[in-house]
Symmetry: C2
Subunit: 321 residues, 2 copies
């Protein structure tokens, strides 16, 4: 059997694991990223993680010669062809870091090819190969977290666009004169469905006099708490999630009309709010707005791989190549 | 030299011509569509147009054996793989008409392959192969007419999506609670930049008391007249075009973030308003809103082939296959 090593690089942690082509994860480990120390240090951390995974694999009876490569999912704008991190809000101060080359130099003796892509593209590939999108050709992914990320799959392949920035579904314009987004634009989906923005929208409503069980925890409000309050029937929390669903539905209507995909896969923390609180409002908005055929073509479903999507997808970069 | 015959099927006219692979058009002709008579009659009209083009070609010394095929650009939702017109607002009453098969039956003795695609996809292919997009791989097209149509090119090919409806850029949501669109949605780009909507927006402003040289021709106002008034400095007309540009810019910002294309090609009547009145407001809006890299990647230019784009693209369907 063949294996690859997946690396899910985050601003805080490096997650690593050994994966078979069928998507099974073994020999997992997590270590701190230490992003502030810069690209070379992080590359040596990644190399260390790879060597430790290989060590674990050996004790599990797996031969290093069965490894086909190493795949890395990294936050930020990644030039996949050259393995460069152009920049990343989560890897502060990084500018055009040749991460793949650095890691390759650290692991020269392994003689393994190293692949790198944006973390949301990796998650998208994960969901396509072993998650909700298995067997499909044209899909989009949306990840709801601090930011709202996205990925586009065209004809079975993650699509990068002409400047490596395709798939930024979180920056589809939903309310042109609306809330300001971290990207500088006004009214992006992220400015309504990003974690901080969901919290701010909730606080604004409470401050304007709305009652809610969340009133006592305004200082450490999170989307998770809002979601939990909604589950227990808190009217304001239910409303905030339904509104979030509507904003996502507006963006997905534009996506459906532009790309006519088979499926929109939605993951990330707030997606855990579930069918009734989040997915039904999303679907209602799309079916209200979108033309018949694109609306019917696009199934809207929850991501299946949870936190593992990035790791699985990163490893699949190596199998895919 | 090889040739193909292009057919630009409209609700009113059938345009036909002989094209070389380099895009030169000869042996042109136009005949009425007679769409109300149904798909079979229109197919026989198309066949007649093809035979007349071949006749003209013969007198020009071109051998029918040098023909590689026939390409048809048709309005509506076209199932390109099977050559079926699923439906079309411009071909009233048509439902799942196997147009390619009908034409093939009429022209059986020619033994030529027949290709069909949506008219805006054909125009997009025309601009890609012989217009503003020559040599590019990832572009979008926008056509501003009665409706606002669009086409998406991914990796050098017109992208159809999973239900044959991809590229409906005119139905990108720009003002979610805005004007009602013919498609049933609220706030589509078409509801602001479609011909009727440009006229209505102008009339509304005049009725609300704005002064304009257009006041005397409200009953037969057209985008062309508005554009002409803007050229002579009419303030309201200039404003209407600038607003139209801003709406297009909002939609293209979403498109840039989702697809990161190299170029957005804009054609159709109102595109003739030109650089200063229309294209500068579009570019200003995109550069205000879109993230650096997608904004810089996407050149926004005027279509080059004018009314011939559909005919050229239709003929290229045959060369492409």
């Amino acid at each position: 059997m063949e294996y690859s090593i997946g690396i899910d690089l985050g601003g805080t942690d490096i997650k690593a694991g050994l994966l078979s082509e069928s998507g099974e994860i073994s020999c997992r480990l997590v270590m701190p990223t230490d992003a502030d120390a810069g690209g070379k240090v992080v590359a040596s951390r990644i190399a260390e993680a790879v060597l430790r995974v290989i060590e674990k694999a050996k004790t599990a009876g797996i031969d290093a010669r069965d490894l086909v490569g190493i795949g890395i999912g990294s936050p930020g704008l990644i030039i996949a062809q050259t393995g460069v991190v152009h920049f990343s809000p989560n890897l502060e101060g990084w500018a055009d870091v040749p991460l793949a080359d650095y890691v390759k130099a650290e692991l020269a003796e392994l003689e393994l090819p190293i692949f790198i892509d944006n973390d949301v593209n990796a998650m998208t590939l994960g969901e396509l190969s072993h998650g909700a999108g298995v067997g499909l050709k044209n899909i989009v992914c949306l990840t709801l977290g601090t930011g709202v990320g996205g990925g586009v799959v065209i004809d079975g392949k993650v699509y990068h666009g002409s400047g490596n920035t395709a798939g930024e579904l979180g920056h589809t314009v939903v309310i042109p004169d609306g809330r300001f987004c971290g990207c500088g634009n006004q009214g992006c989906l992220e400015a309504y469905a990003g974690a901080r923005h969901i919290v701010e929208r909730t606080i604004q409503k409470i401050e304007s006099g709305r009652r809610s069980s969340l009133t006592h925890c305004l200082s450490d409000l999170t989307p998770k708490r809002i979601s939990e309050a909604a589950q227990t029937g808190d009217e304001l929390a239910v409303e905030i999630l339904a509104e979030t669903g509507r904003y996502i539905g507006i963006a997905l209507t534009s996506v459906a009309h532009i790309l006519n995909p088979q499926m929109a896969i939605i993951g990330g923390g707030i997606a855990e709010a579930g069918e009734k609180l989040l997915f039904e409002p999303i679907r209602a908005e799309v079916s209200k707005r979108a033309m018949d055929i694109p609306a019917k073509t696009m199934r809207i479903v929850k991501a299946q791989l949870g936190n593992d999507a990035g790791l699985v997808g990163a490893a699949m970069l190596a199998f895919q190549a």
